[in-house]
Amino acid sequence: MESKIRHYSDMLKNREITCTELTEKFLSGIDTSNKDLNAYVTVTADTAIEAAKKVDEKLSRGEELSLLEGIPMTLKDNISTKGIETTCCSKILEGYKPIYNATVWEALQAQGAVLLGKTNMDEFAMGSSSETSYFGGAANPHNINHVAGGSSGGVASAVGGNIAVYGLGSDTGGSIRQPVSFCGIVGLKPTYGAVSRFGLIAYASSFDQIGPITTTVEDSAIVYDAISGYDKMDSTSQGRKGAPTVDTLKNDIKGMKIGIAREYLEGVRDEVRACIEKACEVYKSLGAEIVYFNLPALKYALPVYYILACAEASSNLGRYDGIRYGYRTDAYKDVNEMICKTRSEGFGDEVKRRIMLGTYVLSAGYYDAYYKKAQNLRGSIVNAFKNAFKTCDVILAPTVPMTAFEKGNAISDPIETYLTDICTVPVNIAGLPGVSIPCGFGENGLPIGMQLIGNTFCESTILNAAWQYENAVGSEVFKSSEYGIKL
């Protein structure tokens, strides 16, 4: 598959189109498609055109453009953008304009990225369908009666719907990989610490990571290389290990050991399992070796994730009190009532549920039984993955046990919805990198995704394996939706 970023960059460099014209085309694509997709919650047309004009001026002076310069893109609405509304799709942050930029946005701006707008998400990234958004859910570009997934549903809908060339999402328990699986595109959740979280509005700080959402594997590598690395503003960020991932994408994978943990295949739909088996055949034909093993610690991954992530969320979301920013209730008798009413009116149901669960598991009497126990099981899961990587180079697994839900079906039963995260949360628990790529279609015509999981800081290995698969199967599997701009 041809890199879309390189395609548009070449068009600009060869003067086939000006950056202003390219940006206007994408903005008019948003005008047409966003009514159906509800991918964007804020469109930044004026600043996009302004940024595009600067690129055109540079071109007219005969200066060289960097690869991401002038490429229209989007950011999830929990990534801080100075002076541009950043709401986490919550009423409690309606109207909030950050006074600083997230480091990832600084990095992309420095390379001349053109921001088209901010995209829809589950409120505070808590959800799997983007329907907990205060602004309503984002639709799937392959069938708008189905959800785009979540929580980075808006970015996936915009990129899958060709109204952004690429975007950045965030992944706490699968929030990049699950929506890209539903929308038939590519999403990378980097190793914990590989990309700065400064300016990412926190949900669960020991799980959150920012990563690229793109239509091709090469684009994923290009954007990852641009945003990763040490940032003095994030004390958990680490210096990037090794060479740019884009340099090793096309390496031969003969002899690469691809592991299948049997537990990942339990409980997934037959059509999803069939796609994984087919992918194994593709890998065998490329010279890779398939290795089967057990990972029994995965059994506890979901409750461990929900206990720990909600505990961290209950603490992180304590800051919303209506005093310094965001929504504040109108009528109150004292400060305590003001804070309680502000929070009760400003947060949606799912956010309240997760804050309550987090508070419960951290409260005296329950801390040891839930929080402490879950932390210890997290240690077991980390060790289980460490051992697994002694026998294989990458782990291949389904991304989601099924295709995209119909709209309205995801939010009726919280536990049922949590269960759909079964394949994605282990990666966040262990802080590993995982990339989700398309691997087929279900009976309903909707995309099915698979993920390649690597050892810590082995982004180059999983992107290499992903590129080889993409190159082998091509556009029949990496199929574009009918929406948006194709030039």
Partner: protein, 92 residues
């Protein structure tokens, strides 16, 4: 078994109000989620001590004095301000 009283106590700690008419639904939701979370207590293994992810160590930086944010900018997102301060109306 999560009770109404538990939910009211947890809501108070969480600085949330749960209206009377939503109490049953929230109690049921909490009970379902806690039962689900309880499955970890069936685990035969005790697990291993976990203190940080990927054995990362803190990436410290030099403690240098740098310009801070402008006060007006910081106050620009507040609902109520007065003479350079965040304002919470006095109600007695």
């Amino acid at each position: 078994m999560v009770t109404h009283e538990d939910v009211i106590a947890i809501a108070r700690l969480s600085k949330l109000y749960i209206p009377e008419e939503e109490l049953d639904a929230m109690t049921k939701a909490m009970d379902d989620i806690i039962k689900f979370a309880d499955t970890i207590n069936n685990a035969s293994e005790k697990g291993v001590e976990f203190d940080n992810i990927n054995n990362l160590s803190n990436a410290f930086r030099e403690d240098e004095v740098v310009p801070s944010y402008d006060r007006e900018e910081i106050l620009s997102n507040a609902n109520d301000i007065d003479e350079g301060h965040f304002l919470v109306r006095k109600r007695v």
